[in-house]
Amino acid sequence: MLSTPASSNSPLIGAAAPALLLRVSGLAVHFFTGDGVVRAVDGVDYQVRQKETLGLVGESGSGKTVSSLALLRLVPRPARVVSGRIAFEGEDLLAKSERQMQAVRGKRIAMIFQNPAYSLNPIYSIGDQLGQILRWHDKIGRKESLARVAELLRLVGITDPVSRLTQFPHELSGGMKQRVCIARALLCNPALVLADEPTTNLDVTIQAQILDLLDELKGRLGTSMLLVTHDMGVVARMANRVTVMYAGRICETGEVRTIFRDPQHPYTRALLESMPRIDQSYSGPVKPRLAAIAGRPPNLIAPPSGCRFHTRCPEAVPDCQRLLPEMAEISPGHAVSCLRRGSPGRETVGAVA
């Protein structure tokens, strides 16, 4: 596991390390399906500090969305959080009662969804469905709640917010809906916003606007953000730190700069190489090909023994089939789980049935 004291003391660029807001340790979420136990998230650690954006990156099926839903204790059936600790604002979320969790959801931790078209209820007007949240969480009156909703709509850059209150979701464009969703997430001034691929379903120009907006709001409101995405470009633009996930495990975590300039884990490297770079020419006589990662993500019912990436890893050595690497810090704030980078390994052959 990550040697935490060192990492939480490591300085952010140009500032003293802010306090830790969220610390997830040893989180495991398993899906109990008819075919067997899918270890979607299997011993994951990450931290989000105050006012920081952590990018959680990985391909589909790597467990990034499930591990973020676990923060709200809303993993879909048949999944269950089987172990781990989620310390948020000094409290263990996994130890809370369902009732106590209801006060956390939306109020302290809010979520922005992938598809704005479906994440608003079609039968309620914008003012109604957003105001409803405020009335429920903050126990305020209807008038007051609508005023607050309008104020937030203005904040997320919606023109004429007061008249939007009575509009219905289908009357808004996709980008507009995502703005409304962002406003909804920020309604109760949450300490942490979970953004699950917030721009994947938007067209490119709108993506840029939404990212700008998120960036601006985060700065203004001092909210921390957990940005779940598969898009390294979005991470480079938005995040302070990155955690890379593969097959339910963390590969590498560190400052965005470090990860992009000096990726250590072979998976991170492969991920970055599979992305076109602006400083490289793709025309001309010699056309470099974008590198793809060979093979497919492993079946998580029976994950590969040892390091989960060894089946696709260009640098794999025989030990990788046997030993499951654990996170180890290689420089302040930069931790990797790879035997080739000196991470300690744990015997797994025989341990996983």
Partner: protein, 317 residues
């Protein structure tokens, strides 16, 4: 209320008064599409006609439905004339007033049946779809069990037996007890389609992101069901209910035609039952109630058809 200052000042007071006018929601939108739907509008007109007859008719017609005085002057089975616009029937009743007084009965049967069916259907389907798993499995098998029961035989048997059992008990004095039994039984056997539809809608809506979003903002399970899922399923429910009303009216007519109807209630099916033997002599006495049943059932079916089109988002232009 601790946002940054610029946002606060940016909206000086304007946010405080939301306008009253509401732009179109699902219902208004549905109505707009419905208005352009010829079959739907035809159905609605027919239904309105029946409702109008039921409400206004009794004040317009000249004869009491139980008035047999025509026997004295015109005689039974007399052809339509100015005094008796639709003639008289085998028992000397004025056919027109029997038809008019039969309309409220038909509507009451249709609405009552679907009320009973909806309550059971929405409850069973709702629990089934929302809970899922074993509960769902059991409730759906239970629903299928109800689907395969030969409804009419049971209704006829229960109506007859119940009619005998109540004799001599205080229950006997309840007006229209027989009719209410029929309505209740029709509802009791009419809910499975509603339950299945509600379950299907719930399974679909449960997966929607806005439901997940509602969960993520801490909404209670009960509120998610009542405020987010059920209202979205309502348009489809309205369609099956409208369809069911027509079916229920037909079913009651059938029960009455077989002679198991409420003797005190005036029902179209019963008119047929009393007069079909005189079909050749006094066709008006049988054709008129037949036409009334036809118009009403057709009206509700067309209405349901139109509603289905209007609420179907795929037909949105």
């Amino acid at each position: 209320m601790a946002l940054d200052a610029s946002a606060m000042t940016a909206s000086p007071g304007t946010a405080a008064k939301p306008p009253r006018t509401r732009p179109p929601g699902v219902w208004v939108q549905g109505w707009r599409r419905f208005r352009h739907n010829t079959t739907g509008m035809l159905g609605l007109s027919l239904v309105c006609l029946v409702v109008a007859v039921a409400v206004i008719g009794p004040f317009v017609v000249h004869y009491d439905p139980n008035d047999q005085s025509a026997m004295i002057k015109f005689g039974a089975k007399s052809a339509p004339s100015l005094q008796h616009l639709l003639g008289t029937d085998r028992m000397g009743y004025d056919v027109l007033s029997r038809i008019v007084y039969g309309a409220p009965t038909a509507l009451a049967v249709g609405l009552g049946t679907m009320l009973v069916a909806s309550v059971i259907g929405i409850t069973v389907g709702g629990i089934s779809g929302y809970a899922g798993g074993m509960v769902d499995e059991l409730l759906m098998r239970f629903t299928e069990f109800f689907l395969v029961i030969p409804v009419f035989i049971i209704i006829l048997a229960v109506v007859r037996l119940f009619g005998i059992v109540v004799v001599g008990t205080p229950l006997e004095s309840i007006p229209y007890l027989n009719l209410m039994t029929i309505v209740f039984l029709l509802g009791l056997f009419g809910w499975p389609p509603i339950a299945r539809l509600v379950r299907a809608e719930l399974l679909r809506l449960k997966q929607m992101e806005f439901v997940e979003a509602a969960r993520c903002i801490g909404t209670l399970r009960r509120d998610i069901l009542l405020r987010h899922i059920l209202p979205n399923a309502l348009p489809s429910i309205v369609v099956v209910v409208a369809l069911g009303i027509g079916g229920a009216i037909l079913a009651e007519a059938m029960v009455s035609f077989l002679g198991f109807g409420d003797p005190k209630a005036i029902s179209w099916g019963q008119l047929l039952y009393f007069n079909y033997e005189a079909l050749k002599v006094a066709p008006w006495a049988s054709v008129a109630p037949g036409a009334a049943i036809f118009i009403t059932a057709l009206g509700f079916n067309l209405l349901a058809d139109g509603l289905a089109d209007a609420f179907n988002p795929r037909l949105k232009q």
